[in-house]
């Protein structure tokens, strides 16, 4: 069975500082990996995804993530955080069409940004 762990429930970061959100997954084959962001009172917005190829993936809003198969990780990073990045971030793993494309989500990491 597939699973996702986001070890950090809350992270507080100063505006302008760098941010790294951890994600570890368990999946029996090549995973499809996603990061979504949910701002307060909003739905989910896709930040980036990894299916294959280059293990460093660029996303929207200045985010990037690196797939490390040996560590079963897909950590999200941003070099300089803006106040508008305060939100909840979800990592998700899914399979190809043959596996039904169903997503399993991590528990989420809530990011607070200090002025």
């Amino acid at each position: 069975a597939q699973s996702v762990t986001q070890p950090d429930i809350h992270i507080t970061v100063s505006e302008g500082a760098s941010l790294e959100l951890r994600c570890n997954y368990s999946y029996g084959a090549t995973p499809y990996l996603f990061w979504y962001v949910q701002s307060p009172g909003q739905g989910l917005q896709l930040l980036l995804k990894y299916f294959s190829g280059d293990t460093l993936v660029q996303g929207i809003k200045g985010f990037e993530a690196e797939f490390k198969r040996s560590q079963s990780s897909f950590n999200l990073r941003k070099p300089s955080v803006h106040w508008s990045d305060a939100a909840e971030y979800f990592c998700a793993v899914g399979g190809p069409k043959a596996a039904g494309n169903k997503l399993t989500f991590g528990g989420g990491t809530r990011v607070l940004v200090k002025p």
Partner: protein
């Protein structure tokens, strides 16, 4: 990308009643899914909405409680039946394939409060 619209966006429902949530995608998609996000929690897959046939439910979810329809490639409904306060959640529709490419997109969610 695919744009997914959900109705209603929010509602307050009486205990014991049922509510149907509609999900409309702006292009034909291969697969549609329904997720639930309970307060302060991550997302859990309820079921895969299959076009022209019965939905495929995940463990812990049953058709009598969450009937789902998908009459065509762009539209699906989820009904939350005989609601109780424990059903107070955000219900999110998502779609994969076709116009959404190989990315899984989400609607803005339907925020239900049962009183």
């Amino acid at each position: 990308s695919a744009v997914i619209s959900q109705k209603p966006s929010r509602d307050i429902c009486q205990r014991g009643t049922s509510l149907t949530i509609q999900c409309q995608v702006d292009s034909q998609v291969t697969m549609m899914f329904w997720y639930r996000q309970q307060p302060g929690q991550s997302l859990t897959l309820i079921a895969t909405a299959n076009q022209g046939s019965e939905a495929t439910y995940e463990s812990g979810f049953v058709i009598d409680k969450f009937p789902i329809s998908r009459p065509n490639l762009t539209f699906s409904t989820l009904t939350v039946s005989n609601m109780s306060p424990e059903d107070s959640s955000i219900y999110l529709c998502s779609a994969f394939g076709g116009g959404s490419g190989n990315t899984i997109y989400f609607g803005e969610g339907s925020w239900l409060t049962v009183v």
